[in-house]
Amino acid sequence: MLSNLMIPAVLFFALGVIARVIKSDLKFPPELAKALSIYLLMSIGLHGGVELAKADLGSAVSAIVWALLLGFGMPVIGYGLLTATRRVGPLDAAAIAAHYGSVSAGTFLAAMAWLDTQGLAYETYPLIMLAVMESPAIVVGLLLAARARQKVRAAAGSNGTATTNGRGEDTTSLRSLLHGAFTNGSVVILVGCMAIGAISLPNAMDKLKPFIDDIFMGALCLFLFEMGMEAARRLQDFKRVGAILAVFGIVMPIVGGAVGALIGSLALDFSVGGATLVAVLAASASYIAVPPAMRLAVPEANPSLYLTLSLGITFPFNVVLGIPLYHAMVTFLAGV
């Protein structure tokens, strides 16, 4: 088990955490992180596209359908759990929940690297699911927030003070938010590169191989190094979040991982590797696409809360313990 973690991707993540914990002055240029994430999305997108060109349409469609269900369903579960904790208001709950319906490409890539070292194969369909799941959760988050605003208003209603945000919808019109959700940068790169990978001439794609394959693992390590630092920075805000919320940051991915493992193994009938990836998708929380969307759509929610949970707690949990755990779940289901 411990030796499972001795892969460079996880070790670099840990190095980033350590660098922060010992208060090193090490800083990555902010643009390097951004460039690396563009590169990583481009690589997995192209790769996925090449594979998908050969894929089976029926399987692809059911993967997409399940991805949508996960994307819409997980935030609802999360919102329920959060409301039960009674530690956050409904708007914060909506914003946090949205993160858990979306996905973290970093966690997904760490899982792929982990499966590779274990010598486990996996299907390409989870990659489409990754692209599909980026956005729906944003929409659910918005709907939950709209409902929460009504509640807040109803509660405050009797005293008759008209607040300017009386019409919560005009904070960000549904239309512009939907637009934002489905044209967000990560989705464009992923879907666009899949399309390019699928329609490009094979001999032209060969020329891209060294760029998208050979140096991929190194770039991933560098990216996780930086995300480790970022996670640790957020982890230090732990106290501000409070113990119960922090527990949510660990329970929620386990719930998600279990749901994902069931879907991957039983509904989609993937191999152990593929089902593990579906579990990872369900378990992971977005920290790239959703936070900016929530800043715009639910400005009343506190970004410290959702960034600390998704980046400071759930992300490290998933990278270090979650991946092998979800793999164990899937293995168990496969044995049933």
Partner: protein
């Protein structure tokens, strides 16, 4: 001596997510331009580290005093909706006041 004319400088510090909204607002209010500088910082919502999903911008707009209030009203409306904007107004002098009366292009 070089002649100087009074103008107002509005400086806004906020999340980079609001950039599009602010630019639209400046266009609607007919300001003659705007300037944006990347920033980080901390405030009531914790630290904004400057990473992609967590970056601030510092926006400067120079405008005639009589156009100040409509812009401030717009900003107040954004704040009332829950957005976080740090804003301050300064008195500045310019050498060519007519430059700040024509709406910007683009």
């Amino acid at each position: 001596m070089v002649d100087l004319y009074p103008e107002k400088l509005v400086t806004i510090i906020t999340t980079s997510m609001l950039e599009g909204r602010l630019v639209r607002l400046f266009r609607e209010r007919g300001t003659s331009g705007y300037t944006i500088v990347p920033a980080r910082g901390a405030g009531s919502r914790g630290e904004q580290t400057g990473l992609d999903f967590d970056a601030n911008i510092l926006v400067e707009v120079i405008l005639p005093a009589d156009r100040l209030d409509p812009l401030l009203d717009d900003i107040k409306r954004l704040i009332a909706r829950g957005h976080h904007l740090t804003l301050y107004v300064s008195d500045v002098s310019v050498i060519s006041p007519e430059k700040f009366t024509r709406p910007f292009e683009g």
